[in-house]
């Protein structure tokens, strides 16, 4: 477990519905999902026109893409609901539009179906969310729970949780790990008190034999997408539910 602390206010979470605890699922203010593939890539080919030509996105989305840069070293562009960033060793696709989660997965599936000989080492299915606390007191409470202050008494003045990251092992037979991080939200600023969650579902193929790299990530995206997102949602909701 890694805890980075600083003399700051404790981030807390509380169900935001009228400040009263609710058994209903809490809705984040902002959330997003990203898929990251680490391997050997050629960023120059990842242009909106390529995705449209391969019918992975409609031509209209390619025509109106917001292209930041396309180069042999890095490509970055957005097509409204989807942001793509590709470097020599990393492919990142992310969206904050929850109605487009499956299209995000399909786009990554389609890309690496077409580029199935790409050597890949890691796959990450990541979820992030900003939740609003009902009050400052509620916001402090989660820090007390995740990072008790007693061990720090006498060592730090007014210690507060700055960030907590927990690493968990996989139990599904894949190599890799799952990391959950909680910290104050710097997007939901005062007078609002918010908490930021990030869950990184990491699959590691770096030590395995080559030849079937993309088949593995295609299988994971096909079979583990739903369970991965459900797990990350459960982590976030469970950490908040007693607040």
């Amino acid at each position: 477990m890694t805890i980075l602390t600083a003399a700051k206010l404790d981030p807390q979470i509380c169900p935001r519905i009228g400040g009263v605890k609710s058994m209903a699922e809490l809705k984040p203010e902002i959330e997003g999902v990203s898929v990251v593939v680490v391997g050997s890539l050629n960023p120059a080919i990842f242009q909106p026109a390529w995705f449209a030509r391969e019918k992975l996105i409609p031509q209209e989305e390619a025509d109106t893409a917001d292209v930041k840069i396309i180069s042999p070293q890095v490509s970055v562009f957005s097509i409204g609901w989807l942001n793509l960033e590709i470097t020599l060793d990393r492919f990142t696709a992310n969206t904050s539009q929850m109605q487009h989660l499956e299209p995000l997965r399909d786009l990554v599936l389609g890309t690496f179906t077409l580029l199935r000989h790409t050597p890949v080492k890691h796959l990450g299915i990541n979820r992030m969310a900003h939740f609003r606390s009902a009050s400052e007191e509620a916001w402090h409470e989660i820090g007390h729970r995740l990072a008790p202050k007693e061990p720090w008494a006498g060592l730090l003045e007014k210690p507060g949780m700055r960030r907590v990251s927990m690493l968990g092992q996989r139990s599904d037979g894949y190599r890799g790990d799952i990391t959950a991080t909680v910290e104050p939200s710097l997007v939901l600023k005062k007078p609002v008190f918010g908490v930021y969650f990030e869950v990184n579902d990491h699959y590691d193929f770096s030590g395995e034999e080559k030849g079937n790299d993309c088949e593995r990530i295609l299988a994971i995206l096909n079979n583990c997408w739903g369970p991965s997102l459900e797990r990350s949602s459960r982590i976030m909701q469970d950490l908040m539910k007693d607040q």
């Binding site: 599936l109 179906t113 295609l218 096909n222």
Partner: protein, 352 residues
């Protein structure tokens, strides 16, 4: 024996397994044959689970499903994760069966797989128990014909083109390749018509079955009407030569888009041939799902209609004692099953 599969809408379990378990049958040991008559959506849902759980059963299907072309197709479809039940169910069945040691070359023991073709015996049993009662039984497939199998292989091979794979993942008319079954238990005979339609050609269809001299010639007293009672599944010669007078007739409805089978004319035709006809459920009404108001408003602002894909759920049970050579069928309806005459209104029939 389980022929085809659908899912109970309440708990999404295969209906055949659920029914047998409710009767106290140990499906893992007692089910000897599972037959897939063809690959339409309304006949295969839950098939893979049925095959997986009925461990002693042999899976029977058309040989065309085990051709190189079809297996290549299922592999490509599986990679694309096409959301079509026949694809997912059949690939799962292939996976289950191919894991059996007895299907490998050189493997000892009975194969978990059997091919149905015209005039082939799929299963038989001698007399068991009391020798005074004829408890012998046999199951025969009456179709598809050799020509129909060849046609289906050619149809499947045509799908192996990049554009076809995406736009027509499955042939739209596999009905001509349906497996028709004839079952005898003691002196009782049953004809299960699957979805076979009349072809009006020598390659297949009902006329070819009727005209076959190799098929069992005894007449059946219970008939599962083909293709949801549609006129395309109708063949007068079947009623005249393959069925007793006034057989018990059973069928299931089909309702998709503007197509409703059986039509009123179909009901009149069938009821004119036998007064003892039952259908597994009515056509569905409107959809009421308990969704929130804003969701329902949005749905109804978007669609022209929305209704349950499966209407209620029901089954027709027909029983007859082996010990009574000249006995009658006892028919009971459960759930939403009704006499066919009530489908479009009409007088109630008393149950037999």
């Amino acid at each position: 024996m389980i022929v085809d599969s659908c899912l109970s809408p309440h708990d999404r379990t295969p209906a055949g397994l659920k029914y047998l378990r409710e009767l106290g049958v140990d499906v893992a040991t007692s089910v000897k044959r599972i037959i897939a008559t063809h690959w339409h959506n309304d006949h295969v849902k839950g098939l893979s689970q049925t095959v997986a759980e009925c461990k002693a059963a042999k899976f029977i299907c058309s040989q065309s499903l085990w051709s190189k072309e079809f297996i290549a197709l299922t592999d490509l479809w599986r990679r694309q994760r096409l959301g079509i039940s026949p694809v997912t169910e059949l690939t799962a069945v292939l996976d289950t069966i191919s894991k059996s040691q007895t299907i490998l070359k050189g493997g000892a023991g009975e194969s978990p797989l059997g091919f149905a073709i015209a005039n082939r015996c799929l299963w038989r049993r001698g007399i068991v128990g009391n020798a005074k009662i004829d408890t012998s039984a046999e199951l025969h497939s009456l179709s598809p014909s050799d020509a129909a199998v060849q046609q289906s292989l050619q149809t499947i091979a045509k799908l192996l083109a990049p554009e076809e794979l995406l736009t027509h993942p499955l042939p739209s008319r596999p009905n001509q390749f349906s497996v028709v079954l004839w079952l005898r238990a003691g002196s009782i005979r049953v004809l299960l018509g699957a979805d076979l339609e009349e072809q009006h050609n020598a390659a297949g269809g009902w006329a070819v079955i009727v005209g076959s001299v190799e098929r069992p010639q005894e007449q059946s007293s219970l008939f599962k009407i083909p293709h949801h009672g549609s006129v395309t599944g109708e063949c007068e010669a079947v009623w005249k030569t393959m069925l007793t007078e006034y057989p018990v007739a059973l069928l299931t409805p089909f309702h998709s888009g503007r197509t409703e089978l059986p039509t009123r004319q179909d009901v009149d035709r069938i009821c004119g041939r036998t007064p003892v006809a039952f259908i597994a459920c009515r056509f569905r009404g409107s959809s009421s799902r308990g969704r929130t108001g804003s969701v329902n408003r949005t749905i109804h602002e978007t669609v022209r209609y929305i209704r349950p894909a499966n209407d209620g759920f029901g089954h027709v049970r027909a029983r007859r004692k082996l010990s009574q050579e000249a006995g009658q069928w006892s028919v009971a309806t459960f759930g939403d099953a009704i006499p066919l005459t009530q489908l479009y209104g009409g007088q109630r029939h008393e149950h037999l």
